[in-house]
Subunit: 445 residues, 2 copies
C-alpha cells in the first residue's frame, strides 16, 4: 500500500482548470450511450415502489422549483430531485456497470449533474461535460479504493459515486479550487453504503443518496462551507477509514484517457451474472440457426461465485427467473427478448416448452473462469457440438454498442420514443429533463 502525495490536486485540476474542449470524441460517444441508457432505465422505473416512495417524500417536503424529478410535474429543490432520480434510475438494476471499478457510474452522477444543471439553467454542453468528468472520477476513485473496499462490504456505486456526483456538481457550479477541495472533503464524510442492502430497496436508495449528497456538499461548498483539504487520501480521511488500497495508478492519465469508456451496458433485464452466458448463447443460436427442438443439452460454465446468486434451478416467479441460468438460457434459445422487463413473468415459469428446455441446461463452475466471463457448450440431437465463450469486459465496436443500446431503449420505451430520444441525445439542444418530462407524459397511462 503506497500513498500518493496528493490525488486531490489532480482531481481539483481536472474539475476546475481543464477546458471542455480537451475531451476525446470516443468518450463523448460513450457518454451519449450511457445517457440514453440512463434515461430509458429511469423512465421505465417510474412506477417501481421505491421510486414512488422517494417521490412521496419529495412531495411532502416541497420547496422551490429548481430541478426535474422523474414522475413529478412540479420541479423540486436540486437535492430532492437528485435523490428521486438516482433512486428511480437504479430501481430496475438495469443501468450501466464499470467492471474495473465495480460500480454503476451513471445512476450516481447523472442525476446530480442534471439537478444542478436544471437549477442553474446550464447549457446541455456544460451538463454533458460535467457529468462525463464526474463519471470518470467515480470510475477512477472506485479503482483507487480497490477490491478490499468492495469485498469488506462497501457498495462502490454510492461510495465512489458520491465523489463523482460532488465533482460533477462542482464543475457546473464553477467552484474555485478551494471550494472544490472542500466539496471533495465533505463528500468524504457523506459517501457511504453497505452491501448488506443488496436485495432490498436500500440498493437503489444508494444511488439516490450518492447523487443527493454530491449535490448538497457542492452547494454548501459554494456558500463557503470549508472542510478537510485532503479528505480522500489524507490522514484520518476516506481512504484510511474505508479499506482503501491506495492504488494510485488509478489516476494515471487523468484528463487524457477516459477509463469510463469501458463501461458496460446491460442488455438483458436479468441478473448481470447471467449476461456473459446469454451473449454466448445468442451468438451460437444466431450463427447456427439452432432451434430449441434440436437441442440435446446446454452446458454453461461460470465462476463459482455465481452459484449462490443466479442459479435458481426451479424458479416460480418472474423475479426468480432473472436469477436462473437454466431459465434465461431456455428463454433466449426460444428467442424471447431478454432485454424486455416483461419477459420475466410468472406465467413463463409454467410454460411447458420453456421448462422442457430448461431441464436440459447444466451449470458447471471453474475458478479459472473470469468473473465477467462464461463458456457455453451446446450438444445438438444429431451429435453436433458447438461452443462459445464471452467476456463482458471485452468491449465491442462502437457501432455495435450503439445498435444494442438503441434496441434496448426500444424494448423499454417503444420504437417511436427510442428514435426521438436518440435524436435528442445526439443533438443535445436541451437538457435531458425537458425530453424526459415529455416522454413520461406520452407513455403514462
Amino acid at each position: 500500500m503506497t500513498k500518493r502525495t496528493n490525488i486531490t490536486d489532480a482531481i481539483v485540476e481536472f474539475i476546475t482548470e481543464a477546458p471542455d474542449t480537451d475531451v476525446p470524441d470516443s468518450a463523448r460517444d460513450i457518454f451519449r450511450l450511457s445517457l440514453v441508457d440512463w434515461v430509458a432505465v429511469a423512465l421505465a422505473a417510474r412506477d417501481e415502489p421505491v421510486s414512488q416512495i422517494t417521490r412521496g417524500t419529495a412531495e411532502e417536503d416541497g420547496g422551490n422549483e429548481q430541478a426535474y424529478a422523474i414522475g413529478l410535474n412540479q420541479r423540486q429543490p436540486a437535492r430532492a430531485a437528485a435523490l428521486v432520480n438516482g433512486t428511480t434510475s437504479h430501481a430496475l438494476d438495469y443501468d450501466d456497470t464499470h467492471f474495473a471499478s465495480l460500480g454503476h457510474p451513471s445512476v450516481a452522477v447523472i442525476p446530480a449533474a442534471l439537478a444542478i444543471a436544471d437549477k442553474l439553467g446550464a447549457s446541455p454542453k456544460a451538463f454533458a461535460d460535467a457529468a462525463l468528468r464526474g463519471m470518470e472520477l467515480a470510475v477512477r476513485i472506485g479503482i483507487w479504493l480497490g477490491r478490499d473496499h468492495y469485498h469488506t462490504g462497501f457498495h462502490v456505486t454510492p461510495t465512489a459515486g458520491t465523489f463523482g456526483a460532488a465533482m460533477a456538481s462542482a464543475r457546473l457550479l464553477g467552484l474555485s479550487a478551494d471550494q472544490t477541495r472542500s466539496a471533495l472533503g465533505l463528500a468524504a464524510s457523506t459517501a457511504g453504503g453497505v452491501k448488506a442492502q443488496f436485495g432490498t430497496m436500500g440498493k437503489p436508495f444508494h444511488a439516490g443518496i450518492a447523487a443527493a449528497n454530491g449535490v448538497e456538499v457542492a452547494l454548501l461548498a459554494s456558500r463557503g462551507l470549508s472542510a478537510a483539504q485532503q479528505g480522500l487520501e489524507g490522514e484520518q480521511g476516506y481512504g484510511e477509514t474505508h479499506h482503501c488500497r491506495f492504488d494510485d495508478f488509478a489516476f494515471d492519465g487523468l484528463g487524457e484517457t477516459y477509463l469510463f469508456e469501458n463501461v458496460s451496458h446491460k442488455f438483458h433485464a436479468c441478473c448481470h451474472g447471467t449476461h456473459a452466458a446469454l451473449e454466448a448463447l445468442i451468438s451460437l443460436r444466431n450463427e447456427h440457426w439452432i432451434r430449441p427442438a434440436e437441442i440435446e443439452e446446454i452446458e454453461i460454465t461460470v465462476h463459482p461465485q455465481y452459484l449462490d446468486i443466479c442459479n435458481i434451478t426451479n424458479p416460480d416467479t418472474g423475479l426468480e427467473a432473472k436469477f436462473s441460468y437454466q431459465m434465461v438460457a431456455a428463454l433466449v434459445m426460444h428467442e424471447h427478448d431478454t432485454a424486455r422487463m416483461d419477459t420475466f413473468n410468472d406465467a413463463v415459469c409454467q410454460d411447458a416448452k420453456i421448462l422442457a428446455l430448461r431441464d436440459r441446461v447444466r451449470v458447471k463452475t471453474t475458478l479459472l473462469m473470469a468473473e465477467s466471463a462464461a463458456g457455453v457448450r451446446i450438444v445438438l440431437k444429431g451429435g453436433t457440438v458447438v461452443t462459445r465463450g464471452h467476456d463482458l469486459i471485452a468491449q465491442q465496436e462502437y457501432e455495435i454498442r450503439e445498435e444494442r443500446v438503441r434496441a434496448k431503449v426500444a424494448s423499454l420505451l417503444g420504437d417511436a420514443t427510442a428514435d426521438t430520444l436518440w435524436q435528442e441525445v445526439a443533438q443535445m439542444t436541451e437538457l435531458p429533463s425537458n425530453w424526459m418530462q415529455c416522454h413520461l407524459a406520452e407513455t403514462s397511462d
Copy 2:
C-alpha cells in the same frame, strides 16, 4: 472480536415496545440538563459562519413548513431543519460529550427528534422520551463500535449519532418493528464522518448530517422503504465495514440503565483537553484564595496526546488562546469567566498581567495520566506548594451539575433568559422550538 447474534432485536424492542414510563428519573434529570445545555449552545451559535451557510441552503430550497430551524422565521421541511439545527448546535464545539463513547450525543439526536416532533406536533413528553432513547442508543452504539473505529479516523458523533437520530425519529413516528429495522438498516448506509474534518466547518456539519440523515431514513422507512434487516451487525453491514470491535457488552442492561447519564457538559468555552486542568486550578484558587501575584509557578501534567492539540505557548488570537494550557491557566487564575465565549479574544492575548502569569505556567506529560484527567501543582512565592487532580469522567452530584449548567447558560444567554429557559425545560409544556424562537427574537440585534 465476538459477534452477538442480534443486537438489532434489542434496539428495535427498546424503540418500539418499551413504554415511556420505564425510564428512571435520574436519566430524565440528566436529559433536562443536556436539553438546556443544547438549547443554549445552539442559540449562542446562530451567527457563526457555518450556521449562516446551512440556513442559506435551507432558505434557497424552501419547502413546506414542518419544523423550526434556528435563525429562520419560517419553518422548514424536517430534514432541512435537522441539518441547520445539528450544524448550528455543534458550531461552537461547546455541547456535551460522552467520554465512554467518544461522541457528542445531543447535537446529533436532539435536532432529529425536535424536527420530527415539530412536524408531527408531538407532545413535549413524547419528544423527550424519544430524544433520550436516541441518545442512549448513540452512546451504546459508540461504545459497541469501540476505540478502533475512532482511532482509524471515524468521528463517533455522526457515525453512532446517525443511528441514534434515526431511532429517536422512528420512536416519534411510531414505526412498526419492521419499519424500525429498515430505518436502522438505512442508517447503516448513511452514517459517515471522518476526523480529517477536525478544525474545519466540516466538524459541525457532521452533527447536521447525522440529524438530517436520521430524519430522512426514518421518514422513508415510514413510507415502506425496506432495507437490510441487520444493517448494523450483519454480514457486509456497518460493523464489518467500519472497524467495529463488536463489543456487545455495550448493550447489557439496555432499557434498565441509561449510560447516557454519564454525559459530560462543557463548562469552559475552550478546548476540552484543557478542562480537567481548569477544574483543578479553579478548585485550588477557590480553596486557598490564591491571587495571581502570589504565584511563583504553575505546573500542569496531562496525557501526552494533548501536546499537539492544546499547548500553543504563545497564542495571538482568541481562537489560539482556547488551545493554550498556559493561557487558559492564566485567565482562570485572574478569575476571567472561561464559560463565556468572549473571554477568549485577541486583546487578552496582549494583556501584560495575563502574559506575566502565562509565562509562569509549565506543561508536563505522563502516559500514566488518564486522557480525561489532569494534575496541577502551584508553587506560591512564600514556598507553599498546593496540588490537585481532576478527572472529567468522575461525575459530580446532580445538584452541582445543575448549578453549573445553569451558570453556563447564564454566561451564554444572560441571567433572565437562563432562568426562563430553565423553567421551560423543567415544565416541558411546549416543544423546545417554541421557546427557542422566542429567546432568539429577544436576544437578536
